[in-house]
């Protein structure tokens, strides 16, 4: 999620190793920028991930939150 609403950073399938590797590199780059990886799980749940899960349908990179 960014200033444009959201941007697709990478797409992959479980069978496509090259696409997944590119996505892993993009994921790592976003972590270095301070983003946090989150996998929405439906029914009001989400999981914080430190590594890109190959089998996730969607991984959202969000900024950290803080007390206002």
């Amino acid at each position: 999620m960014d200033g444009s609403g959201h941007t697709t950073l990478a797409e992959w399938t479980t069978q496509d190793d090259a696409a997944f590797q590119a996505a892993v590199e993009e994921f790592g780059g976003q972590l270095e920028l301070g983003y946090i990886g989150t996998v929405p799980e439906g029914q009001g749940k989400a999981t914080h991930v430190r590594e890109l899960p190959r089998d996730a349908d969607l991984v959202i990179m969000r900024r950290p939150i803080a007390g206002g």
Binding site: M1, D2, G3, S4, G5, H6, G34, I36, T38, V39, P40, E41, G44, K45, A46, T47, H48, V49, R50, E51, P53, D55, A56, I60, R62, R63, P64, I65, A66, G67, G68
Partner: protein
């Protein structure tokens, strides 16, 4: 799901290591403290006003001022609490439609409609029902509404993205979310409702149903 690479606690907790984790007990305690605090700064003004009139009826204008203080100060605290969910910051209208669609994808049908109508995203949790805004959240419990000031660290995001950030963090770790957030106020729902923007009041009503 990727259990090996995931964790249940919110990573932002590392920035507030001194805080006790916000759980039901913590909320009950702070609810009682806020209740006692309200009595402590209201009753003396009322007592002073009554005493003034009893001692000298001509002092009625001063007594009225004391009564006004007893009314205004709790209202100001409630206003402070309700203000956590008031729209604030840049609107970023160019990115907002995309962000609104993205946020809508995170919400169920009824919650999506409610968010579009009121600007607040409803999320049921173990601690109560949350109403998440752009820069804060209300936690509606059985007896009180707790107001939390919490925001994303990128203030330039479109409003709906700011809501989505908070919603995702809340879904990751509810108690962690409440711990990272600053607790601004706790009080009866009617006190908060009166100070909410009219557009947002149906969300509070829906949360209490």
């Amino acid at each position: 799901m990727p259990a090996a690479s995931s964790e249940a606690s919110l990573p932002e907790l590392a920035s507030v290591p001194w805080r006790q984790r916000t759980d039901e007990r913590w909320l009950r305690r702070w609810g009682r403290i806020w209740g006692a605090w309200t009595v402590a700064y209201t009753v003396p003004f009322i007592a002073a006003g009554v005493a003034l009139i009893a001692i000298q009826p001509l002092a009625a204008p001063v007594a009225l001022a004391a009564f006004a203080h007893a009314w205004i100060i709790p209202e100001l605290y409630a206003y402070r609490g309700a203000s956590v969910v008031r729209p604030k910051g840049p609107r970023n209208e160019a990115g907002e439609p995309t962000a609104q669609g993205f946020l809508g994808d995170l919400l169920a049908h009824d919650e999506r409609d409610l968010q579009r109508q009121t600007g607040l995203a409803m999320q049921r949790g173990a601690l109560g029902i949350w109403l998440v805004g752009e820069g804060g959240a209300l936690l509606v419990t059985r007896r009180r509404v707790h107001c939390f000031c919490v925001r994303t660290t990128d203030p330039e995001l479109p409003p709906s993205d700011r809501v989505a950030h908070l919603l995702l963090a809340l879904r990751e770790d509810e108690q962690g979310f409440a711990t990272v957030a600053n607790h601004a106020f706790a009080g009866a729902a009617w006190r908060v409702r009166r100070r909410l923007p009219k557009r947002m009041r149906p969300a509070l009503s829906a949360a209490r149903e």
